[in-house]
Symmetry: C2
DNA sequence: GTGAAAGCGCTAACAC
DNA sequence: GTGTTAGCGCTTTCAC
């Protein structure tokens, strides 16, 4: 494993081809002021030597590297992984290379520091642009084109976001359509955009249906199973408990289902449950859950193409791209008449 | 989105702190020959300016970047993604940053070119070491520490590989234990290490049980559903067809099940089927399949720690790390008596 | 059409 | 303990 072969540089190529480094550079960058034969000669030498330009050196010197990056806090997290898949697929067939960057040195996703630090490391040359996933700060150093996915706070960057509000409306209206009049809600993390939008949708749907907004029916949460469990317990202990519960994500929906079981209620006979998101492994552990699905990998796809447009200087249709959520109806809900 | 703020360099920090660039560099790299007050002063300026060193420049000049990389052909592929998850989890809590590198400019995973090209781009500075996933060539330029995962050909690099042979033995012996005497086999791509090992295990198990090796029972394949389908058709048309089929991966096992259905056979009543691998989405589309599971994300975990050892110059226990497969028994097999 | 040389942001001698 | 300086591999004027 010792670094046997020393790296071959542009100089090695130049020497072997009997030209200057600048000529090799011209060939590398497909400049048109190189004679055909020189071009061929250099190309042959490059092939023979197996030379490939150093990303580091190239990016130091020139603005374009044809590489873009995805900055992710936790690559072990299912949401992030799904997104990476979408980006990974989107990049195939383009002229770009992709760097997914994640750090081991960061304790918590809530400190805005990590995003800024890593972003500026990348942006200072190596990549032509970056997709930041679920950024928690609006204050991002933007030396290069930037697209954010599922921003946790509103900021002024081009963003890809799911139709959280609409999805929540669809879910709530579905329950209303089934005859439910008292529908409980388990919220997500209050400081997050997506959580707010989902709650907004819930309230809006009630309003449209002329149903009263009962604050007792709204439990705050934090997108965890535990929050769903506790929230549901509180709801079920109400004097006039809900007949259906809408949880702001799949994790807390799972908590709701456990709480219902604990209380001796069967789903959907005694309680209808509906969730948001549908991310593996939760998606597979509760295959019966009716849910508003967020097309995560598609969001990666969309973000990629937005970023590429930005990099190439093309105009963006609009700053925000809303990727549609869709209601997946399964067995966890039933009508009451 | 225009590059508003120009990048802050080490010089800006030096100027603002009234010291030289080298002093800043010393602080950045935690050299011990800096006075405490200078250190503090520089740190404060760094924080205030939000400075962060350029990966490109750093890697050009010094050997260590504290970043390692995973080189992946197709980030949209489930195997790769699982692996990335493992690596992503392994890196948390370490002192390293992680770059997952994938290229859009590559048509096929079978051309060894892409690995070499991208590897040398990365290796020439930016990263301290690389994990190459399912490399198809033994001839990798190794300027830096390298670990390969699931190599498709044997090479001399430190490698992480599943216990394919043992897994195949376990699967075959399981079928034998159920009373099966004629067991069909659908192979994987003949040129791949894993495929060979699986077939080897199959044959070895038969031999151990003193069962004859009937070449008619072995169908070549290529890890696709189609190959499984066709192979199974051929097997089922034999004068003396097998009572069980072991497919070299989950995809072809799926093909086998379809072929059995087409032939009017029900599983497991008329035919026992067993597969290898258990990768989503296949894993979820055939939840009844008995299978030899390859712990992919664990392989990423193991590879990460091997690589870190190499980077830090620690000795490796052995060049090859075999991650154990395990037999997951489900409903697709039954005993014949 | 091609070469020489400056310099990107940084680190590592080597001075002082 | 701190500053000066020579390059790392490359791109890009500017000469010729």
């Amino acid at each position: 494993m010792r670094r046997a072969r020393k790296t071959i540089t542009i100089r090695d190529v130049a020497k072997a081809a009997n030209v200057s480094v600048s000529t090799v550079s011209r060939v590398l960058n497909d400049k048109d002021d190189v004679s055909a034969e020189t071009y061929d000669k250099v190309q042959r030498v490059i092939a023979k030597l197996g030379y490939s330009s150093s990303l580091a050196a190239t990016s130091m010197r020139s603005r374009r590297t044809n590489v873009f990056s995805v900055l992710i806090f936790d690559l072990g997290d299912p949401f992030s992984l799904e997104l990476v898949m979408g980006v990974g697929r989107a990049v195939r067939g383009t002229e770009y290379d992709l760097i997914v960057y994640s750090s081991g040195r960061t304790a918590s996703s809530t400190e805005p520091e990590w995003e800024r630090r890593h972003l500026s490391r990348l942006a200072s040359g190596i990549t032509d642009g970056t997709i930041v996933v679920t950024p928690t700060t609006a204050d991002l150093p933007s030396a290069a084109p930037l697209v954010v996915v599922d921003p946790h706070v509103d900021n002024s960057f081009p963003a890809v976001i799911a139709t959280n509000r609409k999805g929540a409306i669809a879910a709530t209206e579905y329950l209303i359509g089934l005859g439910h009049r008292r529908i409980g809600f388990i919220g997500g993390r209050a400081e997050l955009l997506s959580a707010n939008q989902r709650q907004q949708g819930y309230q809006e749907a009630l309003q449209r249906a002329n149903l009263p907004l009962d604050l007792d029916l709204i439990q705050s949460g934090d997108y965890t199973q535990k929050a769903g469990f506790q929230g549901a317990q509180a709801l079920l202990r109400l004097p006039d408990p809900p007949t259906a519960i809408f949880a702001a994500n799949d994790g807390s929906a799972f908590g709701v289902m456990r709480a219902a079981q604990d209380a001796g209620l069967s789903i959907p006979d005694d309680l209808s449950v509906i969730g948001f998101d549908n991310i593996p492994p939760a998606a597979h552990s509760i295959p019966t859950l009716t849910t508003v699905e967020q097309p995560i990998s598609e969001m990666g796809y969309v973000a990629t193409h937005m970023l590429i447009k930005l990099i190439q200087g093309e105009p963006l249709g609009s700053r925000l791209d809303h990727v549609p959520t869709r209601l997946i109806v399964r067995e966890s809900c039933r009508s009451i008449k």
